[in-house]
């Protein structure tokens, strides 16, 4: 590792000054030698929280107390940096907080350090059971993400870069301990982390660019499950007249993994009418797992059809998964008004396990762009997607070996960019696909997709936009008679009558319908799965700078859906800012969260939140 670091340090010295890149300019010193920026400090009150607390925590999860709500600090340029910038968000007890530090010196280095904390709380049943029973999956975890990147000599011909990353999660929850015939809610502790180190070299020239990079990663996942009192589990009936139970039990997972990935990205423009680009990745991922289980109680062993009072097992195994991805594209411009793009990509993985998963996926695309007139560009093309996979069959079907599936789909792709008048742009995308092989019953084989997007800037005050999406398709009988339809359309208007006022209104109407038949596992009767979701979503934002720095803003979003899981979710908000001094503002903010479900009304909640605080600012003296 140290040798690698030395290599990356010497490359810029050896080659850094040989590039044809322009000479750097020394940054103008700012008029003020003190940091500038702003910090927002506040106290959040929650005067009302009615309804389901677990649902509130699963969706919103904001608490009361003092907070550093936001901060931006810009340090004046110094000897070691032209830019040093720190950003903070939601520190002091909020479930989501972060900071980001950027340091840069032109043509010398650029470094970013970022850190995020994320609380994940979810204690809701993931199925539509009005009784709310059997919610045996809940999570109360803290996740941390750290990333640091350093690019040396950015913008120069040779630019080495290094980086490290660390993601970790720790916490508790509820997860079932599963034995033959029954499952038992157990206290779960999770502790997993993934650390990566990456290094590479970017070589940029006038007519080509190459990036070489290598990433090494280490991973561990140590989960434990524990039951320390009698637990009769979720089974409502006896098993051959006996009640199954666990009196105490422990599961322990010890999973260690590593991965190494080597990649090359390149672009080239050998002539004025040809651009080439490509990418190649080879990854080798490895996992070593050990699992220990000890439990006492009354259990059934289904393979031997006998009862036992204790289960003890220990297992170790190892998995490898090499993966290769390669892509290539060429853009030809034989005439000034015509562009032809050919691209091909392949992705292959092979899980070297007892029962392996083998997967090949390929895509080839040919597209032509024709500038018919100055305001009309037409795009037509063809996409061919194909692949093959081998996966384990059902546990009841071990004799037949691996299941093989293929994917084969031909698509016509097209589109247009139209600018009939100044400041009006219309984008259209169309894909019509037909296939005769699919991975799964719900993989769309035959479908058509249309997407339209329009934006019109009437003048400096008014901007209007509209969008429409429709994906409609069905699978033939061999793939399960799956029917799918997704339509979404909406419009938005932005009005900025002056620098002091801004209003934005947006509305989207969506409709999703899927329809497929399946068999009831118990009696093999046919069941129709019909999923429907009709939604209305609206957003309104109004900002008004009433007088000097006295500001008002109001708005929010609302969502209402009808169908298989009817839901309403309202999030209005308002904020008032009053200047106290040149460098200090007082603000008050109100937010409301209202959530309700038609079938699962006990999960509804309503909450008012008030935040009072100060915004401290310091700007550059002129």
């Amino acid at each position: 590792m140290r040798k690698l670091l030395w290599l990356f340090l010497f490359i810029p010295i050896a080659f850094g000054q040989q590039g044809s890149a322009p000479q750097p300019t020394k940054a103008e010193p700012t008029a003020d030698a003190l940091p500038t920026g702003s910090v927002e400090l506040g106290y959040r009150f929650i005067p009302t929280l009615n309804g389901s607390i677990p649902t509130y925590r699963s969706i919103v999860n904001l608490g009361e107390g003092p907070r550093i709500l936001a901060g931006e600090i810009n340090f004046p340029g110094g000897k070691f940096y032209d830019t040093l910038f720190l950003r903070l968000n939601n520190w002091g007890g909020d479930p989501y907080n972060s900071f980001c530090l950027l340091a840069e010196k032109h043509h010398v280095y650029r470094s970013t350090i970022s850190y995020r904390n994320s609380a994940y709380f979810n204690a809701l049943p993931s199925f539509a059971n009005p009784l709310g029973a059997f919610n045996q999956r809940s999570y109360d975890q803290k996740q941390r993400f750290f990333d640091a990147d350093l690019d040396l000599l950015p913008g120069r011909r040779f630019s080495p870069f290094v980086g490290v990353g660390h993601q970790a999660a720790r916490g508790s929850g509820v997860s079932p301990m599963v034995f033959d015939g029954n499952s038992y809610a157990a206290v779960s502790h999770v502790d997993y982390a993934y650390t990566t180190a990456r290094a590479g070299l970017r070589w940029t020239a006038e007519r080509f660019h190459i990036t070489l990079e290598h990433t090494e990663g280490k991973f561990h996942d140590d989960q434990t499950l524990k039951i320390d009192s009698r637990n009769a589990g979720d089974r409502l009936r006896t098993y051959l007249g006996q009640t199954l139970f666990v009196s105490n039990g422990q599961d322990g997972y010890g999973i260690q993994g590593r991965n190494g990935t080597t990649g090359v990205h390149a672009t080239a423009s050998p002539t004025n009418w040809l651009d080439l680009s490509g990418q190649y990745f080879y990854a080798q991922t490895n996992t070593k797992a050990s699992f220990a289980e000890n439990a006492s109680g009354l259990f059934i062993l289904l393979d031997q059809l006998r009862f036992t009072s204790g289960i003890h097992s220990f297992l170790q195994n190892e998995s490898n998964q090499p993966r290769t991805t390669a892509n290539f594209a060429a853009e030809l411009r034989p005439f000034s008004k015509l562009r032809i793009i050919e691209s091909i990509s392949t992705d292959r993985l092979h899980n070297d396990a007892t029962i392996p998963v083998i997967w090949h996926y390929n895509e080839q695309r040919l597209e032509a762009f024709l500038d018919v007139t100055k305001w009309f560009t037409l795009r037509v093309g063809h996409k061919y997607t194909w692949g093959e996979s081998y996966t384990p069959p059902s546990q009841l079907d071990v004799a037949t070996g691996l299941e093989r599936a293929r994917l084969r789909r031909q698509s016509f792709i097209g589109g247009a960019v139209v600018r009939p008048v100044k400041n009006l742009t219309i984008n259209a995308d169309v894909e019509v696909a037909s296939g005769d092989r699919a991975w799964f019953r719900t993989t769309l084989t035959d479908f058509d997709s249309t997407r339209l997007r329009a934006r019109y800037q009437l003048n400096t005050h008014w901007i209007a936009a509209a969008h429409f999406l429709r994906v409609s398709g069905g699978n033939p009988s061999w793939a399960g008679n799956y029917s799918y339809s997704n339509t979404a359309g909406g419009a938005s208007v932005q009005w900025t009558p002056s620098a002091k006022w801004m209003a934005l209104a947006e509305y989207t109407r969506g409709s999703l319908l899927t329809d497929i038949l399946y068999r009831n596992p118990e009696n093999f009767g046919t069941i129709r799965s019909l999923y429907r979701d009709d939604s209305h979503a609206a957003t309104l934002l109004v900002d008004a700078n009433v007088h000097a720095r006295f500001k008002l803003s109001a708005g929010g979003t609302l969502l209402k859906t009808r169908g298989s899981r009817s839901t309403a979710y309202y999030q209005p908000q308002g904020r008032i800012t009053v200047p106290l001094r040149k460098s200090c503002e007082l603000f008050g903010e109100w937010r409301y969260y209202g959530f309700g479900e038609f079938f699962l009304y006990p999960e509804s909640f309503q909450s008012h939140q008030l935040t009072l605080g100060l915004r401290l600012m310091r700007s550059t003296a002129k």
């Binding site: 910038f85 950003r87 980001c100 909406g490």
Partner: protein
């Protein structure tokens, strides 16, 4: 520690070579605030100063006629892009652009990038607002109760998407790659990364989006169906036809077990199949 000191010394040595080149004298008298803010911008190092992007800047300075100066932001997207690509053509972000929706839709660089702005990172919220300005239907999806924490400012769109486009093995051409050439989802959901001794095929073959709706869902686990049993049984469809089973044209259709769906216990498959994303221990994903 020694290595850190060495890096610091080398950076100082390289930094000391920076030269002064006052290219802004022509424009600064009228555009002082722009030039001042620009001094911390990467583009401040452009060879010909303002003229690098704004053609005829000198003529404009002589006459003060705004019509004379070239402005990539006001030009047609193709012409504006040509200005940017004069320097950025062979750049890492260009590798996947031919497959990106932005590239195909001729979205101008200046639609998203503020060329004069200081190089400070945007807040997650401001970046998301920028994306939502065009992708309004995605904003509507994030208004759903169970979604990734974008609206709380914890994530931004570019954590998962590469707006310049990426060569991705899957259908989602804009998805970020991560670590061992894995889907961007696994950057945070690291316990799902495997490889597992017993893989659940859809995770590898179709990715997380075959079961989850990442932008927002009414289901607490962000599933694409209202409940777990429906989600699972649509694929594990129990002998949908003898021909289908015999020819094996699609996977996962054979009966998983003879469960009684009238019992609520069996309505939530993941109560027993706890390791549904893949298991190191059990073939039926029970542990």
């Amino acid at each position: 520690m020694r290595v850190v000191k060495t890096i610091a010394v080398l950076l100082l040595a390289i930094g000391a070579q920076a030269a002064t080149d006052p290219k802004w004298e022509t424009c600064a008298p009228c555009h002082e605030d722009l030039v001042t803010a620009f001094s911390r911008n990467q583009h401040a190092t452009a060879k010909n100063g303002c003229d690098s992007c704004h053609s005829n800047a000198a003529k404009h300075a002589e006459t003060a006629d705004p019509a004379l100066v070239g402005n990539p932001k006001k030009a047609a997207p193709k012409a504006g892009e040509a200005t940017c690509l004069a320097c950025h053509k062979n750049h890492p972000s260009r590798v996947g652009q031919v497959r990106s929706g932005h590239g195909r839709g001729q979205v101008a660089c200046t639609s998203c990038h503020s060329v004069h702005a200081p190089p400070v990172p945007q807040t997650a919220s401001s970046r998301n607002q920028q994306c939502f300005a065009c992708h309004a239907e995605t904003r509507a999806q994030f208004a759903r109760p169970f979604s990734h924490k974008l609206t709380q400012g914890q994530l931004n769109c570019t954590d998962c998407h590469n707006p310049h486009g990426s060569f991705n093995g899957r259908a989602l051409a804009s998805a970020q790659r991560h670590g061992s050439n894995e889907p961007g989802c696994l950057k945070c959901h690291i316990d799902k990364r495997g490889p597992f001794r017993f893989e659940h095929a859809p995770v590898r073959l179709e990715g997380c989006a075959s079961c989850h709706e990442p932008h927002g869902s009414a289901n607490p686990r962000m599933l694409v169906r209202q409940d777990v049993a429906t989600q699972c049984l649509e694929c594990h469809a129990n002998l949908p036809g003898a021909a289908l089973a015999a020819t094996r044209q699609v996977q996962g259709v054979l009966p998983p077990a003879f469960h009684d769906l009238r019992d609520p216990f069996y309505r939530n498959c993941t109560v027993c199949h706890t390791k549904i994303h893949g298991s190191h221990v059990n073939r039926a994903f029970l542990k």
